[in-house]
């Protein structure tokens, strides 16, 4: 039993090292060994690490990323906390609109949101041309403007986390504090607030990590406003001539260091405390109906907020998709963009096909590997479980750009040609990278699902004589059905729109949907890019909905419901 645990654990560990750690290490190794060429190996290159404070572009990219992420984290956390507080504690019309907006914003890839904001705010964009609001462009394309846009795109990560923690009120613990003489405020400060701190820390870390590693937003904004960030500069170092391996290595190092510090701060803030207070003494918070004027105020505020956060980027995309001109100022209604998208069967349809194929394979392999990882983490007694857990966290934290570049270094070595594993330039490398990118999300979802299934249910099956695979097939999988479907859909959706990895790794003549949209946008074919986004998005969402129906229908049929 123990040896089986060990064998499974070692296998999983090996796979994670190959898929995540090795690419990451090779990127960082570029600092002292550019291009992984041993004749260029030079330890003194480590001095380059300090060059980030001397070379203007490196310094600017580093500082831009740092301050953008810090600003977004602080403001995003405040906004998310306020919205979560309102949503949990008050009943008002439109409350659910807030949840809907948050979930949709989390699903839409950042480069599409960014395109929407560009269409709205640029000099002759919707804000100035149609609404007559001057100065929007100069505000949005400034540090504080970008922070605001980022906050509106990233706040859902914190909102969902904080809201979940606020939904439960530790009544027994609060009563105990009051019995001991604490005032309502003191009880909140000393009991309720500390219990929520892990949620706030996690929320802050999620926003910070997502912002600092966001390639889609920075690559899109760069087209109209020069605001170099680390992910985009790393991409440029590798994908423009002359190739700067050392620069990519140093900047990746700083990117990872920032993420690691954010994670360390979170762990430090949480310490070793475990805040499990969801027991019988915890009550679900009941939202109350405020007075009429307050209700009207909350409803109006919520609708306005949702219009800004979701309506502006999505609405702008929609408007632009019907625009006959690059500039909204000269807007003429046309369906030509859609006609062109749908008729240019060659590139658009093949892009969708490639993306769907990639996403399908990533979801299948991702769920297989993610399931094994989650099983080992939840039920096995493998001694290096913590290392596996840490690697999945690293996989979640590594920005797509760094992972993608790492894959180039790992799979573009000459000696691999001899063993038939020279994967760079083939769709296989995209598959591998997409699987690696999908594993953390799948793993988190499945670990959450498995945490609710006590090990005794599996032991009980073994007691009845069931072997390992029977136990998995008849007990674990049926109980994990919902989590598995969520994990598959999340991995599928995430892979379809993964811009960073596909931009860096797509082989010649193997364009994917996000690359296709992004290229059209960079070629200033705004209407066409927007129409492609709409068509591609609708197609993918349709497929995901169908997939969900099929997966659940199969399950219901099997269960005889």
């Amino acid at each position: 039993m123990k040896s089986k645990d060990n064998a499974a654990g070692i296998g999983i560990l090996g796979l994670l090292i190959l898929l995540v750690l090795l690419p990451l290490v090779t990127v960082l190794f570029q600092v002292i060994c550019p291009g992984l060429s041993l004749d260029k190996f030079n330890v003194s290159n480590l001095a380059l690490v300090l060059d980030v404070f001397k070379r203007p572009l490196w310094k600017k990219a580093f500082l831009n990323s740092f301050f953008l992420s810090c600003g977004t984290t602080v403001l995003g956390l405040i906004l998310a906390a306020i919205l979560a507080h309102i949503r949990v504690n008050y009943k008002f019309v439109g409350a659910k609109l807030l949840d809907f907006t948050a979930w949709v914003l989390m699903i839409i890839p950042s480069f599409i949101l960014a395109q929407g904001w560009v269409y709205f705010s640029s000099g002759n964009g919707i804000a100035s041309a149609w609404l007559g609001i001057k100065g929007v462009g100069s505000f949005v394309f400034s540090y504080w403007g970008l922070v605001c846009v980022m906050v509106l795109c990233k706040f859902p990560l914190a909102y969902v986390t904080i809201k979940t923690s606020m939904e439960w009120y530790p009544s027994r613990l609060m009563h105990a504090a009051r019995m001991n003489g604490a005032s309502a405020f003191r009880a909140w400060k000393n009991v309720q607030l500390p219990l929520c701190i892990p949620a706030y820390c996690s929320a802050a870390m999620l926003i910070f990590m997502d912002t600092v590693g966001d390639y889609g937003m920075s690559s899109t904004i760069t087209a109209v406003y020069s605001f170099p960030t680390l992910p985009y500069t790393i991409y440029s170092a590798i994908c423009s001539s002359p190739v700067r391996f050392d620069m990519a290595g140093v900047l990746s190092l700083y990117l990872m260091v920032m993420i690691v510090i954010a994670m360390a701060v979170q762990y430090g803030a949480m310490g070793k405390k475990k805040f499990d207070f969801l027991d019988n003494g915890t009550e679900r918070v009941m939202a109350v109906s405020p007075k009429k004027p307050v209700q009207v105020l909350l409803t109006t505020g919520t609708v306005l907020f949702c219009l800004i956060a979701l309506g502006i980027p999505v609405g702008s995309e929609l408007i632009m998709s019907f625009s006959g001109s690059v500039s909204v100022q000269k807007f003429t209604f046309t369906l030509d963009n859609y006609k062109e998208v749908l008729s240019s069967a060659g590139s658009m349809v093949s892009g969708i096909k490639h993306s769907l194929g990639l996403a399908g394979i990533s979801a299948v392999f991702g769920i297989l590997i993610g399931f094994c990882v989650a099983y080992v983490l939840t039920y096995s007694r493998f001694k290096l479980k913590k290392l596996i857990d840490m690697l999945t966290l690293v996989a979640m934290a590594v920005p797509g750009v760094v992972l993608g570049i790492g894959y180039i270094f790992v799979w573009n070595q000459k000696w691999l040609t001899k063993v038939g594993l020279h994967l760079y330039g083939t769709p296989s490398i995209l598959v591998l990278a997409s699987v690696a990118a999908a594993i953390p999300m799948i793993n988190r979802v499945l670990v959450g699902g498995m945490a609710k299934i006590p090990g005794s249910l599996l032991t009980a099956a073994q007691m009845q004589g069931a072997g390992f695979f029977r136990k998995i097939r008849t007990i674990l999988l049926p109980l994990l059905h919902n989590s598995s479907v969520s994990a598959v859909l999340a991995a599928f959706g995430g892979s379809v729109f993964n811009l960073a990895i596909t931009t860096i790794l797509y082989p010649p003549n193997y364009s994917t949907l996000p690359v296709y949209i992004s290229d059209s946008y960079n070629d200033l074919k705004f209407g066409y890019a927007a129409a492609a986004t709409m068509v591609g998005g609708a197609f993918i969402v349709g497929i995901m909905m169908l997939l969900e129906v099929v997966l659940n229908a199969g399950y219901r049929k099997k269960q005889g419901h």
Binding site: S456, T459, M463, Q464, G465, I475
Partner: protein
């Protein structure tokens, strides 16, 4: 089943310190002990859920566990009723019960026959098509027992199977279970922290403390002659007074098992399980219900003063204090006034003496 010098560590902490035990076929064994004594660890080692660090576990002469070998759980021919019942929530009661038969590819007719048998035996009529969430605690427990019984295992393991039930149901179910297992002559290894559950079910009780077995005996023997101070405390002898061994033969019938202890210049005859020396300090343990308050001086009695009486429904629990400052409780049919003086009499057979270990 035989356990030979079974040891288990968690890191540097020794949980089981060499357990030796033999269980006969058809015997019901209850393992009793305070939290953290190692009883659940022992059960999990027998089940094959946990590996051991030293020793061996044999079932019908076949080695099941040793540091180098662990027969997988599914190949041990054991079954278990879990503390939380571990019923699979996505399967109806029927599917939960026959799961083991399906694994063994039992033919349908035989499966139906066996299902009908356990259905009748455990009064599950009308419940088989319900999901676990639709069943009450007692019904869930009966389904869990049915699932464990239907595969006809050589040993059934019970991991505190009653602790999730309410008091009334617990009392009912422990009697039912004892009757059922005796009727079926099943070998049962039962872990509990509740003495009355162990008394109701077991042929023999194992009392564990800090990773070792303190006593293995019949329930009556454990109750009447608790070998260690922990066993005495666990089986209700919570009252404790101090004394010292006196010289001279015991004035009881069984002089070889009894000793005479002095307490406030009075002689008390008590049961003793160790070799004691004159002058040795002793702790005397006894149960409140086996101590009588009398007003006049008598044999084997301690002078006491009433501290308080509290009504318990049908009788009073009276807290008393000796001249030496020891306090203990006794039960009395009527209310006794504060400061009232008298004597607490305990029969020699019910007064247990243990060596007092300093520190």
């Amino acid at each position: 089943m035989e356990l030979k010098d079974v040891k288990k560590n968690y890191g540097k902490k020794e949980i089981l310190k060499g357990i030796n035990l033999t269980v006969q076929e058809g015997e019901i064994i209850s393992v009793l002990g305070p939290s953290g004594c190692g009883k659940s660890t022992l059960l999990n080692i027998i089940a094959g859920i946990l590996p051991l660090n030293a020793g061996q576990v044999f079932v019908r002469g076949k080695e099941m566990s040793s540091p180098h070998k662990v027969v997988p759980i599914e190949q041990r021919d054991m079954n278990m009723v879990f503390q939380d019942f571990a019923l699979w929530p996505h399967m109806k009661a029927r599917d939960n019960i026959i799961y083991g038969l399906k694994v063994r590819k039992t033919d349908k007719a035989q499966m139906q026959e066996k299902l009908h048998e356990v259905e009748t035996l455990l009064h599950l009529e009308g419940l088989l098509d319900q999901y676990p969430a639709e069943l009450s605690g007692g019904q869930q427990q009966r389904v869990a027992i049915a699932r464990a019984l239907i595969t006809n295992p050589s040993i059934i393991l019970l991991d505190e199977p009653l602790c999730n039930l309410d008091v009334q149901l617990r009392i009912e179910m422990r009697t039912e279970m004892a009757q059922l297992f005796r009727q079926l002559k099943t070998t049962v290894f039962h872990v509990t922290h509740d003495p009355s559950e162990a008394f109701a079910m077991a042929d023999r009780i194992i009392v564990m403390n800090q990773g070792v077995i303190d006593q293995i005996a019949t329930p009556a023997e454990c109750y009447e002659s608790p070998r260690t101070i922990t066993v005495a405390g666990l089986l209700g002898a919570g009252n404790c007074v101090h004394g010292a061994v006196m010289e001279g033969p015991a004035e009881a019938d069984n002089a070889e098992t009894h000793t005479v202890v002095s307490m406030q210049n009075r002689k008390l005859v008590c049961k003793s399980f160790q070799n004691v020396k004159k002058g040795q300090k002793m702790l005397l343990k006894f149960r409140p219900e086996e101590c009588i308050f009398v007003e006049k001086e008598c044999k084997n009695a301690i002078p006491v003063r009433v501290v308080m009486s509290s009504f318990e429904g049908g009788q009073y629990r009276v807290k008393v204090e000796t001249d030496g400052g020891d306090t203990f409780c006794l039960l009395h049919p009527t209310f006794l006034k504060e400061q009232q003086t008298g004597y607490a009499q305990i029969l020699p057979e019910r007064l247990y003496a243990y060596e007092e270990i300093s520190g």
